[in-house]
């Protein structure tokens, strides 16, 4: 497989090799330029900015480790890290388990698969801002649909996006509603499980539940790992839903300029990226924002390494070669 991949000019033919190099360069030049401009340079610059005080107007001023030292004295940063960690744990587990559950049900259907799969997948295409407002409306405590529904059972609806204890679960509910992409990925993996394995398990007397536990789950475990890593990355980046839930919950009239609603209620939706945005682009403390960005980079880089290792293992097992 590896040997047939790509045009390799025969050794010794210098001109052909030079031509080949030129071809590769021509195909990749825009991407290389783009990578350097929009990832390479800003990554280095972020680290440099993180050692300065910079407000975008006056030239940056070197302050050494001051920004990093301030991190330890900043209660809001602690709050933001705690909030993001909450999402990393709860959202990751909930999203992976929920997508697995829904996919497992769809995989067992014999008719109406297409319709139900479409219904489950479509919300994930909605703009995150719209999805957040959808839930803001559906969950509103004064006569919203969920409130009315709970009312039939005599249960009082939580205040959701106005209550610090319920804002994060509310956002998690939004994220589950739009987790259709992960469902489709897991569903495809479940449908790929070789039928003989089920038959063998059935001959051994395993019922549907045990077949699911002993055959389906182990076989799709690489995809579940992908789901976990993908969800962790999603949780680390959580921004839009948190900002919109905060602004809708606080009833703020202005999406820009005002910082009051960021993190509303009581900083419970102040995730790490939201706080980074507030420091950098509302208070124009670019140096401190850059220090936070550096921290975020280190963490997400670690997660990415995890994913790449998984892919390497996977592709060398499947294709025995040139994959990732």
């Amino acid at each position: 497989m590896t040997t047939t991949l790509g045009a390799r000019p025969a050794p010794g033919r210098g001109r052909a090799r030079a031509r080949h190099r030129l071809t590769v360069l021509a195909f990749t030049a825009p991407a290389v330029l783009g990578f350097v401009l929009f990832f390479g340079y800003p990554l280095v610059a972020t680290v440099v900015f993180s050692f300065t005080r910079y407000d975008l107007i006056n030239p940056p001023e070197l302050t050494g480790l001051a920004n990093y030292e301030f991190m330890f004295k900043d209660p809001l940063l602690v709050k933001a890290i705690t909030n993001t960690l909450w999402f990393v744990v709860v959202l990751t587990l909930a999203r992976t388990a929920f997508a697995l559950g829904v996919a497992s049900v769809i995989a067992r259907l014999k008719s109406g698969v297409g319709l139900i799969r479409t219904l489950c997948y479509l919300p994930s295409l909605a703009p995150p801002v719209a999805a957040t407002l959808v839930f803001f409306m559906v969950l509103r405590p004064n006569g919203g649909p969920v409130d009315s529904f709970l009312g039939w059972f005599g249960v009082d609806s939580p205040l959701w996006f106005s209550d610090p204890a319920w804002a994060k679960p509310g956002i998690t509910a939004i994220m589950l509603w739009i987790s259709g992409d992960l469902m489709i990925i897991i569903l495809a993996a479940i449908l790929d499980v070789p039928q003989e394995q089920y038959e063998a398990a059935e001959l051994d007397g395993a019922g549907p539940v045990r077949r699911w536990w002993h055959v389906t789950l182990p076989t799709i475990s690489p995809v579940l790992l992908f789901g976990v890593v993908n969800s962790v990355i999603l949780a680390l980046q959580l921004f839009t839903q948190a900002v919109v839930a905060g602004s809708a919950g606080s009833g703020a009239a202005d999406a820009t300029g005002s910082t009051k609603y960021l993190g509303f209620p009581d900083n419970s939706t102040l995730t790490f990226p939201v706080y980074l945005y507030a420091q950098g682009f509302r208070y124009f403390d670019m140096g401190y924002a850059a220090a936070m960005a550096t921290l975020l980079f280190v963490i997400s880089f670690g997660v990415t390494i995890l994913l790449v290792q998984r892919m390497r293992k996977n592709s060398s097992a499947e294709e025995g070669g040139p994959g990732a």
Partner: protein
């Protein structure tokens, strides 16, 4: 129609019939139970949007009550919201961003993906790892220096800082296209080379036509990602109202029309329409593309 289009291919395994049990009452009950559960799930996902729609068509004085069903159907609510905010302007901005970005992405990402999938060169694996790294990077990490640069170029307050990068580099699209191109047998490309095609000709005449479904999926994802984008437009155009995209405007609309649930839900509903329309017309591409990001990833 939806059902026939997404019907899984016939090689997908179905539950084996147990010869000992046969078609008994138990099997029938099992069928009913699974399908009831499946139907409940489908309804659970659909109902939030149904409520949004029902609220959107309610008369003003009913929309903030606990009624679930509209007393009268005010279809004109969908039109009137265009008077309450310059939605048409925001729509044009959103389309400008999404269409130019998708076009630019196709120009820049197809050759890059071809180089990663079909050409052999030193550093190719490293380059692919860098693409994945860029794909995973939270956009907030690089926001400070990029904003600084665009601001010194005087381009903040416009959509250009969002559009221009797509003409050079879009990590997710390169990744997805490369995954698709890997599935095209190398022998086709080799045959084209033997016939005297240049690499460019091999790409344009052989690989691009064969990768059409993959290219369509990538373009759809790119369009929807930019259409749904909130952080980018907020960062660069937040202060300049007439440059807002629909997503950005929608976040504000709720705040400005806090009592009028029908108006804000009408706008919410309208912003979700393009995704649904795209999906109806291109379901296969969506499902294929999604599967490719995960399984082959």
């Amino acid at each position: 129609m939806t059902a026939t289009l997404t019907k899984p291919p016939s090689d997908i395994p179905t539950e084996p019939e147990n010869p000992r049990r046969g078609r008994t009452k138990g099997a029938f009950l099992h069928w009913v139970a699974t399908h009831a559960l499946g139907l409940a799930l489908g309804l659970m996902f659909a109902t939030p949007v149904v409520f949004v729609f029902l609220t959107a068509v309610m008369p003003d004085d009913q929309a903030f009550t606990s009624d679930l069903w509209p007393r009268e159907w005010h279809w004109e609510n969908f039109v009137e919201v265009f008077d309450q905010a310059p939605l048409f302007r925001y729509l044009v901005n959103s389309l400008t961003y999404s269409l130019l970005a998708t076009g630019g992405m196709l120009l820049s990402s197809i050759p890059a993906a071809y180089a990663l999938a079909k050409l052999r060169w030193r550093g190719r694996n490293l380059a692919f790892l860098l693409v994945i790294g860029a794909m995973m990077l939270p956009p907030q990490v690089v926001a400070v220096p990029l904003y600084d640069t665009w601001s010194s170029l005087g381009l903040t307050g416009t959509l250009w800082p969002l559009i221009v990068p797509y003409f050079l580099f879009d990590a997710f699209s390169i990744f997805l296209l490369r995954q698709f191109m890997l599935t095209i047998p190398q022998s086709y490309v080799d045959a084209a080379r033997v016939d005297g095609c240049s690499e460019f000709q091999a790409m344009v005449r052989i690989v691009v036509p064969m990768a059409k479904p993959g290219i369509a999926a990538t373009a759809l994802f790119c369009f929807l990602f930019t259409w749904n984008d909130y952080f980018g437009p907020l960062l660069y155009t937040g202060e300049v109202k007439d440059q807002w995209t629909l997503s950005l405007a929608l976040a504000t609309f709720k705040g400005m029309h806090i009592v009028q649930w029908n108006s804000s839900m009408a706008v919410t509903f309208l912003t979700m329409v393009p995704a649904v329309v795209l999906f109806v017309f291109a379901q296969k591409s969506f499902v294929k593309g999604i599967t490719f990001t995960g399984v082959k990833g």
